[in-house]
Assembly symmetry: C2
Homo-oligomer: 112 residues x 2
């Protein structure tokens, strides 16, 4: 059906810089999406979204049936992806949504 690879001129106008930028966006979107790619992590985001902020122990209570260490792992993944932030308060850690990360994810998805 399509015999000419440049039928849509999708390559001729792209510099290698453009390609690198798109590849970087691919990787960034994939990283963010992967972090969101587990129901428990989505649930944690929702809890933080509703409560504005939440200490780690409360999150563990909200995520029913999982060990504290498991929840801590999920929090780490969300934090490393830039979707949440954690602030130490005494012995506790107060987590909150990182709105910039969430916005970035929305922007990247809207650009697909």
């Amino acid at each position: 059906m399509v015999t000419n690879k440049n039928k849509y001129n999708c390559c001729s106008e792209s510099s290698s810089d453009d390609i690198a930028a798109v590849r970087a966006a691919d990787a960034e979107l994939a990283t963010l999406a992967k972090a969101l790619g587990h129901p428990v992590r989505v649930h944690i985001l929702r809890v933080l979204s509703q409560k504005q902020s939440c200490i780690c122990g409360e999150i563990v209570e909200h995520v029913d049936g999982l060990a504290q260490s498991t929840v801590s792992q999920h929090l780490k993944i969300l934090k490393e992806a830039g979707l949440i932030r954690g602030e130490i308060e005494g012995t506790s850690v107060c987590y909150c949504i990182n709105l910039n990360g969430l916005k970035r994810l929305r922007v990247l998805i809207s650009n697909v």
Copy 2:
């Protein structure tokens, strides 16, 4: 610190149906995000988005360096998540973006 679990009244207004619906949305969003959680799959989506539609063999060419079987696996994951559709055309398969799936993902993320 927090002794009353209903401090924010976040549960008292939720019926079990609501909770089930939110859990289902969590799972749906996680499934869609997980499918997007690999740079090659993001790239495939971008290719399909730019070219409107694309036969499998062309996608394999666009995803440089990966075996045809690997690309086929990625296509399967995207298809099962509802992010792309595939239509058989003779010996080829013509893939295109499933806009409904992409919209659904955007809606679910905007509701987090």
